[in-house]
Amino acid sequence: MSDIPDSSTAPTRTIDGVHYHQHDIVIVGAGGAGMRAAIQAGAGASTAVISKLYPTRSHTGAAQGGMAAALANVEDDNWEWHTFDTVKGGDYLVDQDAAEILAKEAITAVLELENMGLPFNRTPEGKIDQRRFGGHTSEHGKAPVRRACYAADRTGHMILQTLFQNCVKLGINFFNEFYVLDLIMTEVDGEKRPAGVVAYELSTGELHVFQGKAVIFATGGFGKIYKTTSNAHTLTGDGVGIIWRKGLPLEDMEFFQFHPTGLAGLGILLSEAARGEGAILRNSEGERFMERYAPTIKDLAPRDIVARCMRTEIREGRGAGPNKDYLYLDITHLSPEVIDAKLPDITEFARTYLGVEPYTEPVPVLPTAHYAMGGIPTNVKAEVLSDNTTVVPGLYAAGECACVSVHGSNRLGTNSLLDINVFGKRAGDNAVEYVKTAEFAPLPDDAAEFVKGLIDQVRGATGTERIATLRRELQESMDDNAQVFRTEETLIAVTEKIQELRERFLNISVQDKGKRFNTDLLEAIELGFLLDLAEVVVYSALSRQESRGGHFREDFPKRDDEKWLVHTMAYLSGDAHSADAGDHIKLSTKPVVITNYQPMERKY
């Protein structure tokens, strides 16, 4: 019953070595958002899911702490409080209509996952258990609230597995280890529409064109622009980069989240659930420093605030360790039974990678690049926008690659597992509706030409620059200059570095000249996307002369609602290869949707 029929994954035709497929809906990416979309799409239309990885390798699986929903299973809660927390957590840059949908539909989203089989932790009554998480409060900030539904500290793993299991049940067509490199846009009746995508099959080196009436991008984030990151090696922003190169805008790219508790020196994530369960951040003096900064909710302040406080503690000389360059996450006051039941994976990470025993020793931690709040602008139907308001018919985006914007300038913990489920489902549902009446947009004769050229050029590269060297220099410069604290000076320094790296990128060497499983070639192409996106991040950050959420400008330390209560929209225009970012990136703004909550000072 669950076996995928061969006929549906076989190409319909092969011309000049390029394989052609046709499906109503083509989904790019098989993480949480992509598979949640696929479950909707596969039930209503012919669907193909194309993924660079095997679906269960996607980074949704690394999410740990939980998924927010005001179920009120363990204490009083409601979706309106959740909406408020999301808006305040995002420092009022959140589109409030979207946040309302996120918080309202959260409840159904969690129940649907349970119904699909997700093994949530349970309350003594057998209901889904809930825990505290940063920035989630009752009565508009009065006290932390138990809103995060969870499965130990492997909630993302369970979501990814459950969605994959249900895709297997539905017989969804997966194209695993196919790397999408181009989106084909065709003009129909005077408007641009997606006609399909072009993918490079990693195992053979052959090209595939997937024609679709609707295309959904669910390609995840791009944390690999940084050196210290919780993100997987494969999170190189390919999907966001493809959209960018097509001349479609990217929104709020300057807002990147640094998760407070990465394992020091490694960046491996230690869930905020630790603090939700009572863990305490301490400085070299053993002081619970968050009490000074956020007297009401202390260690459970939102991530942007905690990350900044940590950096401040280190700057002021209260960092721990021989070099005073990290802080401690202390869970030694929790019983080993509680730790084993609720935080088993992260304690194992501390043991495996740092040799620290969290039962008895505090764990060295530092902020780690974690999540892109910005990305491909969409409306609440997950439809991609080509400017502030115009929809690209048939093109959708969901998950970290998208910017709805439900996270504004800083995402709350547990809202991303929620985002992928709510907006992944919406993307799937709306695509199904769309393809009922839409026709296939015609493919150009040379649909695969661009990718063919790109592959040949990269495989043939015989320069002198090593890909890994350029990537490392990019990542180090981003860590040094565009991390938690930024100034005009540091941002200009990294802009110049990126300019230099883009030039050196033209002189790379690719050693593997083969066709099969050429991961050398793959990494070169990924680096191209990283360079493009890092440039947009930095250029947008340079422009925003204020501090808000995840974007803190030391030279403009205050939030400026007069001028900057707006989203940033970045467009590629002019010569994409020109040296100066200002010659090929154009910035504009987009109004923030405000419904119920007027911006207030953000205190916790």
């Binding site: 019953m1 669950s2 076996d3 990885l53 095997y54 269960t56 390798r57 996607s58 980074h59 699986g61 690394a62 969690v110 129940l111 349970e114 119904n115 699909m116 089989g117 093994p119 932790n121 349970r122 003594p124 009554e125 057998g126 209901k127 889904i128 492997r154 793993h157 369970m158 597995q161 299991q165 297997v168 195992s203 050196k227 210290t228 997987a232 090696h233 494969t234 020196g265 491996i268 070099n323 994976d345 990470f349 495996t352 990678y353 740092l354 530092l366 090593r466 890909i467 890994a468 180090e476 860590d479 040094d480 050693q511 593997d512 083969g514 066709k515 099969r516 499983f517 050429n518 050398d520």
Partner: protein, 250 residues
Amino acid sequence: MSTVLEERPAAADAIQKFTATMMIRRFDPDVDTEPRWQEFSVEMLPTDRVLDALHQIKWEQDGSLTFRRSCAHGVCGSDAMRINGRNRLACKTLMKDLDISKPVYVEAIKGLPLEKDLVVDMEPFFASYREVQPFLQSSSKPEKERLQSAEQRARFDDTTKCILCAACTSSCPVFWTDGQYFGPAAIVNAHRFIFDSRDEASEVRLDILNDKEGVWRCRTTFNCTEACPRGIQVTQAIAEVKAAVLRGRP
């Protein structure tokens, strides 16, 4: 942060760093008829993982070295490989935990078709997984969540941890000689549903696993349990499924 690391006295680094010899089993299907061993030398810190050694080779010495990896901290299941004869995740194996006075041998996992270097074809593995109907089957349509006690939830907790890395299945001598055998990972994923109080299709799965290529092929060698990077008691899970097959119910 990197600035801080760079400021560390060079002497400290010199003490910490060590040289290790890596013997990698290479295979390029376009060139080689048989896999061959190739020696590399890498400069490592004690906290470095085998994955870091592979990256150092790929990034600084030979770009053609091919392996899968993604999360790099043991949750995505991409980089299962044979390290000194044992199946492990390269990202979860620290160099300091290996005997680096001798070469470290790294090769692809066994029993699945070799594609290139450390990469195998995972399709047969996932085909076995799909055959056990690894998804919840329940006729009830509750308005809210289905209730499940903490004890019922705990009954199948261990097998929910599986990341489908294939370290267990490809460590199994039965699987090496009989590729038709479902293998430990598929049985683990059947176990996850057979013992879930919400599921109604246990009998179907027990029937599937009562097949001649099912649980009875297991010879209880415990290789799978030893190989599992998630610490799942794989052999015990298989034994529990065997007992359930005999009972005809979970």
